[in-house]
């Protein structure tokens, strides 16, 4: 794992939180993450997730993203071929102190969730001009 990152990724299988009864089979959404001078931007692939089902929760050290997919296998229907896994998504990211927890922006479009985590003011790079 790289160092000096404010966002790291944990395997969800190790987290205690999934011990809670959860009838929904979830998969770990793939993510692209980039860092800008003042923020971290997470892009998560969650095809089929409904906007209203997406939950983003944050505590001191983690960011948890969950979503569910509306089923399309109706009654009296047969699933002939199945590659799309699960009916929901869940992924946990570890956060360090550098993230401003009160300043999180999220947007969902075309099956991709974008979460923007702003860095705390004091950690943003500053340019110091020579007088």
């Amino acid at each position: 794992m790289s160092t000096n990152n404010d966002v790291t990724v944990v395997q969800q299988d190790n987290t205690a939180m999934i011990r809670k009864p959860d009838p929904v089979a979830t998969v770990t959404p793939l993510a692209d993450i980039y860092e800008t001078p003042d923020a971290y931007v997470l892009l998560l692939d969650m095809p089929g997730a409904t906007k209203d089902s997406i939950s983003i929760t944050m505590d001191q050290s983690t960011l948890v993203i969950r979503a569910s997919v509306e089923g399309y296998v109706r009654e009296n229907a047969t699933l002939l071929f199945n590659e799309i896994p699960g009916v929901g998504f869940q992924r946990t990211f570890n956060l360090t102190d550098g993230i401003d927890r009160d300043n999180v922006d999220a947007r969902y479009e075309n099956g991709v969730l974008m979460v923007k985590l702003l860095k705390k003011e004091e950690l943003k790079p500053r340019e110091i001009r020579i007088q």
Binding site: T28, L30, P47, L80, F81, P85, G86
Partner: protein, 148 residues
């Protein structure tokens, strides 16, 4: 650090048949493209096929694409879904921390089920899922025959 992607077992022997068919299609395309440097990445978006009495539903997970990025065609009873997923753009002064999402060109093909009314195929795309409805022609729909 490895990213765990859960793979679910497919429930139907159709899998190998579809995979074989796609390989054949890919071979034909490759023969056209041979000699040309193929630098672009490609991938196969996952697909579900659901059937009921009236129709067959083909669902393809195509997140990160709008309907303009996707092409659907039917030729000789072969339904082909193709397109290109663009890479997420990195803004100026930014750097990648992780890069897991696969992008590039894709092509998936299936043979239309027997008795598909190919004139009435419809498609919609929402939240990164492409849903193609293949209606069944009247003569292949199951009928109940009452005993007189």
């Amino acid at each position: 650090m490895l990213v765990q992607v859960r793979r679910y077992p497919t429930i139907n022997p159709l899998l190998s048949e579809i995979a074989d068919f796609e390989r054949q299609v890919a071979k034909v395309f490759d023969s056209f493209l041979s000699g040309e440097a193929q630098v672009s990445r490609s991938y196969a978006p996952p697909m579900d096929i659901v059937e009921n009495d009236n129709e067959t539903l083909v669902v393809t997970a195509l997140s990160g694409m709008s309907k303009d990025d996707v092409k659907i065609s039917v030729e000789n009873d072969i339904l082909t879904i193709s397109g290109t997923r663009k890479e997420n753009q990195l803004p100026e002064k930014a750097r990648w921390v992780r890069n897991e999402i696969r992008t590039g060109q894709f092509t998936r093909s299936i043979r239309l089920p027997k008795g598909t009314d190919s004139g009435k195929i419809s498609a919609e795309m929402n939240d990164g899922l492409l849903k193609i409805v293949l209606p069944k022609a009247e003569e292949v729909k199951p009928r109940e025959i009452r005993v007189q």
